[in-house]
Amino acid sequence: MSHVKKICVIDDDDTYSFLIKAQIRKKFPEMEWLNFEDGNDAIAYLTNNNYLDELPDIILLDINMKLMDGWEFLEEFIELKKLFSKNILIYVVSSSINPHDVEKAKSYSDVSDYIVKPIPEEQLIEILSANV
């Protein structure tokens, strides 16, 4: 049991990534940071860097990405996590308020929650303060 040490943001909106990084830095200056603009890049990293320390504790995942979207990432992740020695929490974070997307996200047991952008600061702190 320990606090979240490493966060991974997968989102093609660089403004959003910049902003969330700024928010996290303010509250958790020690937090390690991973950022990918596409599901493809994230999968490539996780495949090649799966040592305990290299893996993130938590992933904030966008849905609408161009090359590999959030859903495709989840499918690949489910296969990939069998090799991981730790449990990674996944939060789907999207601008979409489409109920179809919310339902679909909740159908994955690996998805802890569905959060509509922008993430309220309190919720972000709560998520990152939790024990993992």
Partner: protein, 669 residues
Amino acid sequence: MFDNYEINMHLYTLNYDHYPFSLRHIPVEMQEGTLIDLEITDQRFRKAFEFSAIGMALVSTEGRWLKVNKALCNSLGFSENELLNITFQDITHPEDLDTDLQFVQKMLQNQIESYQMEKRYFHKNGSLIWALLNVSAVRDKQGQVLYFISQVQDITENKRITSDLRFHESQFGHLASLVPGAIFQFEYLPNGDSRFPFVSKGFMDVFEVSEEGVKMDSANVYQRIHPEDFEKVVKGIENANLTFTQWEDEFRIILPKKGLRWVRGVARPEPNIVDSILWYGYIYDNTDFKYSNQALKEAEKRWQTALNISGDGLWDWNVSKGEMFYDSGWKSILGYEDHEIINDSAEWLKLVHPEDMEKANNELENHLLGLSDNYRNEYRMRHKDGRWIWILDRGKIIERDEQHKAVRLIGTHTDITEHKTKELELEKLLGMVSEQNNRLVNFAHIVSHNLRSHTSNISLLMKMIRDTDDPAMQMEFLNKLQKVSDQLNDTIFHLNEVVSIQTSATIDQQKIHVVNSINNILHILNAQILENKVKIDILGKEDALITFNQAYFDSIILNLITNAIKYRDQERLLVINISVKQDHEYTHISVQDNGLGVDLQRYGNKIFGMYKTFHGNKDAKGIGLFITKSQLESFGGSIEVESELGKGSVFHVKIPLTPTYQKYQIIEV
């Protein structure tokens, strides 16, 4: 010959002198009852006696046969010798003997000259022989009877026929009285009078007349005929009289007791020996049948009228006999005259639409198997004029056999083409509307998502700007804000473009020269083409024209070619082949490249989706193919892709020759 002979006999009897027998040869013993040999002297008479077809005999006053001829022997079955040894009394029927003997007595007492009677003899075999007996006497000068001359005419056969006739007559009368109508003989006289010489008992019941009344005059019967039918009946009778053809009629009569009745008669006139015409016929009260028949006709008329008004057709199928009946309404729905379709189930099958055949058969099968209470079906049939019409077919089994198998079905056909056409139109419209609705929902989500992603960034940036005092940081946030603002602008521009395609209720259509238009686009892209050393070939129909919107067409071609350039394979020079073909329905334009290709297994239908890109290209917006597809679809066209990763892609564009601008595609955002 015989008549002459008889006359002679009388003469002889009266004129003793000329008597043919030689009395001298009659022995004295004869008077004492002993057999004497009678000689017949007259040659002619002797021959006549011997060979007469009628039995003849000379008989003594005591009744002893003195001389008999062949015919008498044959009639009575005895030989000559046997007869000469007995008396006529021996073989006379007891009931007739007294009469006979009384006559003989009168003869002997000279009271009569001769007598005649019908009497019965016993044949040798015991059977009865009827005979007409004629007896005269031969007398001496004192008037004493010497012997009798008897003529015995065998009338047994006559008697039998007469008695048979009497029997038949009584039988016939009996039968005629039993028949529930009337049997009659009708005589039509040359002067125009008529009568019924014979009527059976029933006749009096049918017409309420007396037998005596009609025997002399048929007027009583004529009076009964209903005034409205009178002329018709008389004409019918007269006509049959002239032609001797069978008379058959049905008419009303008015009776004193029973009132109005219907009668039906059949008779045949035959020329009579005299100048009259004799009819033999049968007539009976037909009222009950007539009324029940009329009720039936009424009922039939009623449903026939109902069918006519509804425009429905009727079929009647006897499954077990394989017989089919279609009424004229059934045939007229399909445009045929009554005689143009024969009553055969094959005619039906011949006209059913091949695509509907299986379903139609299944429904019928289900009903025959008892799976459905009523048979109901909708299918297309070929009208005489060649078009397909929709038929609502409804029916029911009305008769089953002991094994519960269907024997007979009756049903109706209704032309539901108009209804069905509207229904199909409505279905199509509904499909369009629901598709439209789906698009609208998707579009709303896309708009919402795209706008929200920017607004959430804006609100977050504003918060950050407020939260920090560091001017450098504030500056950075402001720059970010500028970038988000630009992106928002782009997004709104794209959405506008999409909406304008989908909402333009009227959009210009013009004749477009396909190859010229493509060349114009290539000219605009000239710099890129030269820079990347792209080889472009245009093949196919050079003069192809399409009806389309010029701006849309340019946008489509531009998008496909820039895509090909954008996603070219850096390892080889790009070759683009554009082909233009036309068939009777569509113009086909295909754009083939040897670029990167797309993994369609993975992305499939997403390739034409909004904001989808597949190559990780920085400047890929993921809007181009979505707009291209929308533009094509708004004119009833389509776009499809074939692609293989590492080999290249082919985009197939299809534009209808007669474009139908999709009015239903209106989206309100």
